[in-house]
């Protein structure tokens, strides 16, 4: 059917990551495949309209793709949904901005952390990486949770390994809410290379970001997505409230301000509406 063809087109388009370098694309494709292979049976197909799965602005200077799959509730899946995206945007200066991301949200059948990776490349010599398992509870109130998911998993050793690379500097989000949402082992870095070393960003992605991102995703799949946790009634209500707030604030901070600027109000409203639908399924 036309719908199936459109969907197929959307999925293909998403998984092409057509505007980023080979190491960047390989990493994203690998992460998405790993998640879909491991959780596939729990995930419903992507039901986004074709013009949200792939969209562009009026002048054709900005292209983007969105891919979401919700967890299959009747099968008691712990997955709320996964959300992958890429954005490509030509800059007035001649270069391009490329953002690729994959996030995975769990539902209140578990209180385990979510998964998040985002790569933002604004020039051939500069890349921002955000890689984290954002906690779903107040870590100050829950030292056991901190111990289980962040200390025992040795997430901090991955952060330390990456921060040892000379080109890697800390990246501090301007949003205090984003800073609050991430875990104490969040990798938030800016990779700044010399113009005299073309291809160095890609080298850092291939040699360092790639293996570390895969390790962190592996920890998330084993300990969070597929682990079992006891969650009481009262706790579930707090989780629902907290998860919901994070989604609202993330749209506000991350997408709400940039999308209209990049894609115009009409496309932005269509895409943000579709994201809001997935968020509240």
């Amino acid at each position: 059917s036309q719908m199936e063809l459109n969907n197929e087109f959307g999925v293909t388009k998403f998984k092409e990551f057509p505007y980023v370098s080979a190491p960047h694309r390989n990493l994203m494709v690998d992460l998405v495949s790993t998640v879909e292979n491991r959780l596939g049976s729990q995930l419903l197909p992507c039901t986004l309209p074709p013009d949200v799965q792939y969209y562009q602005n009026q002048t054709g200077s900005a292209h983007a793709s969105l891919h979401t799959r919700s967890g299959n509730k009747p099968s008691q899946s712990q997955i709320d949904f996964i959300l992958g995206s890429w954005i490509h945007c030509e800059l007035p200066t001649g270069g391009a901005l490329n953002i690729t991301s994959l996030s995975a949200f769990l539902n209140p059948l578990t209180d385990a952390p979510n998964f998040l990776i985002e790569l933002i490349q604004s020039s051939p010599t500069s890349l921002i990486l955000i890689l984290d398992l954002p906690p779903r509870k107040d870590l100050v109130l829950c030292p056991d949770y901190l111990h289980t998911f962040y200390e025992e998993t040795q997430l901090d050793t991955r952060k330390q390994r990456l921060e040892k690379i000379p080109e890697v500097k800390p990246y501090i989000s301007s949003s205090l809410y984003i800073r609050s949402v991430v875990s104490p082992t969040a990798i938030m870095v800016r990779i700044e290379t010399e113009a005299s070393q073309p291809g160095r960003v890609e080298e850092v992605i291939k040699d360092h970001v790639d293996p570390i991102a895969k390790e962190v995703l592996g920890i998330w799949l084993d300990q969070c997505a597929c682990g079992k946790r006891e969650v009481g009634e009262a706790e579930r209500a707090i989780l629902e409230k907290r998860d919901g707030l994070i989604k609202i604030k993330t749209i506000e901070v991350d997408l709400g301000s940039n999308f209209p600027r990049l894609f115009g109000p009409e496309v932005a409203n269509r895409v943000l509406g579709a994201i809001r639908d997935v968020y509240t399924v």
Copy 2:
């Protein structure tokens, strides 16, 4: 009386900060006086035993002073207690380790943030500074709280000002719990200067750390210690639990491991016991 004399001696000793540089001492004396002048009428006298107000290890290579004053409950003070300390410890390498700190904890009559400053100088060319208003609620669940105490107060501009100084590098605590306790505008930095520039650490303290610390304390006094907040019954119970956990974990992480090593088990037990008493008043 002997007790009063001893107390007088302890207070004097504490406020002398005898082992640190003049700019470092001036800053600490000024912060302590500002807090005591502003909150004085709400604070009970220090009731620590003299051998906790001032103590040393067996060989005399480590000296320290502790000063605590609890809030006067019948007067409806919002202050739980303030705690100031300094530690001086000769290092086997010939140098000395000097730590000075001032923290102020509020009680559950308010949910406003606490205050914390700690300066750790381990060599003439290196100083760690921790300066923060640690939140008393889960910021992810409370965007309004984040807005009131961290965005509207422009705390982040202070952090940015300090981080612009070339010698200032980020300091990352090895404790994930400490990283979780601090706010998204926490100043956690290491000031690293060149041996060829003697006195540069003191210059950075005087020109940059001093004014910023006073501004942050001013915000805390105006908005937190002396502001009024509505706190419901249920919320008060969560605050009590959260405040209590922070105190227990802070002793564990910060003091529990270092004190016995520096002062021997007997002195460490005496001092930690006295701190625990203040914590649970």
